[in-house]
Symmetry: C2
Subunit: 319 residues, 2 copies
Amino acid sequence: MLDLDKPQIVALFDFDVAVERIHNAYVASAQSKVQTADVVHLAFPEANGDCHVKSGHIADTASYVIKIASGFYDNPAKDLPSSNGMMLAFSATTGETLAILRDEGWLTDMRTAIGGALATRALARSDATEVLIIGAGIQARFQATCLAQLMPERTLNFHIWARNTVAGQTLTTDLNATGHCAVVVSNLEAAIGAADIIITTTTATEPLFADGLVRKGTHVTAIGADCPGKQELPTELVFTASLRVCDRASQSLNHGEFQTACRSNASLQVTELGHILSDTQPGRSSDDDITIVDLTGIAAQDIAITQAIIDAAAFAKTP
Amino acid sequence: MLDLDKPQIVALFDFDVAVERIHNAYVASAQSKVQTADVVHLAFPEANGDCHVKSGHIADTASYVIKIASGFYDNPAKDLPSSNGMMLAFSATTGETLAILRDEGWLTDMRTAIGGALATRALARSDATEVLIIGAGIQARFQATCLAQLMPERTLNFHIWARNTVAGQTLTTDLNATGHCAVVVSNLEAAIGAADIIITTTTATEPLFADGLVRKGTHVTAIGADCPGKQELPTELVFTASLRVCDRASQSLNHGEFQTACRSNASLQVTELGHILSDTQPGRSSDDDITIVDLTGIAAQDIAITQAIIDAAAFAKTP
């Protein structure tokens, strides 16, 4: 049995391999080739924490994966990371444990960011360069660096807005120190109207900004809403968008960004990302479209990134 | 972080402590003091296997537990155990991993058997000695030994019936070799009519015997049915029993032994075991009652037995 801690996992990780595996996982999911169990939610309101368990199996593959990811949002004040968790892989023919990846949430953060970057690249205008990131937590950082790594041919300008201005400044400084172009934004409304790409990475439970601010041609990637009650975007923006894309309709409409709109209109039309990535359904149709992708995170991503690490570990052991 | 394998877990295990903890867990569950997530079911029909994930938290306790348990029923033919899995404990205040108990399903088998033994002791007639066990798998063995250990004052006579007669003979031989009284039964119908206690431990998807065979005063503990489509007892027996008890009504009526009866009568009355164990609701009312308990297995048991091992490991380390 493979038992790896976070430094070992990070050392084995290959970005390009993970991108390809996660791309394929979205396609498999849209093709109904993934057995996905309902997401388990445990809530610890007294500790400002929650835990999700995602699990599934991609048809005709050797292992199934159970992913445990928690967020305890007061942890940073205790000098602990807010994310925690592990990926577990089991044989789909005998149930034997194949791997325990004690990634402390790093693989979840990475697969979430790769999912966001894949969706943003697929749906943003081809000349998009101005990226507004709302939020300055771990996922804001991952979204910025993964998007830049996925689109090396474009020079992206990151505009960072965060309620916590210290965190926003820290993220901006860190991005600039690692070769990116980033500025702090103080006027959120103006920044929304000037953005080509908006990426929301907060734990908000109500819209972060008013409707009518997003200009034509903008693409929005909404990462934060992943359980009942969370919402980052104006509901009206969701209704009027040219295209609504999600990772998995049953999750997105139930407990993702689209949950509020779906409660008003149960027949809300959404397209799963795997259909866009495989060109089986149309994506952006013009430079004037406003496109929105809602990512709740799906077990297929966890399976894909776990299998990539398992394969890398096996390859590393090959003489 | 505590990381224990099966031999270490077995060495730390204390039966009496586990019985007390699991008893208290049933009571807490019946008092709605347990946050229990929906059970995750993954199915691998091509490999004749399945996997369950149970998770939860008992109010005001330090850790939450996620339990992964699989059954791959063709494994014995490959010289592998059919049960597999692990218990994982996390801090309910920070999400940090506290323990990985790589028990390979042993703790699940044990807490299931302790649950069955507690229920059987609580509901069987006080003079019951003739125990018919249907099935000869790992859980049949655990139910017999745990029941005997829980009721040392009574001499129990085990009658073993199994479709697999070789397995039935092996179990009988092993029980006799370890100081128990056991015989193989070939006539199931006659054995049912002569039993004081019937314990069913199979993966049946239809009743194991006809209605009208169970005599007055008998107690039945049904262990096998734990997912949609499974059933061990005649539906009519469930309807006409004097008392129907279950570990957790929402599981039992949805995917336990009582699922079929519940589909015919959605208002089927059941009592949760914790209320019987805490004497807050009445149990057997006469020596003529036929009582049935349906155990699907609940997260509270997993939490209890996991915490017992964690505490034992901490105590063992205390100088």
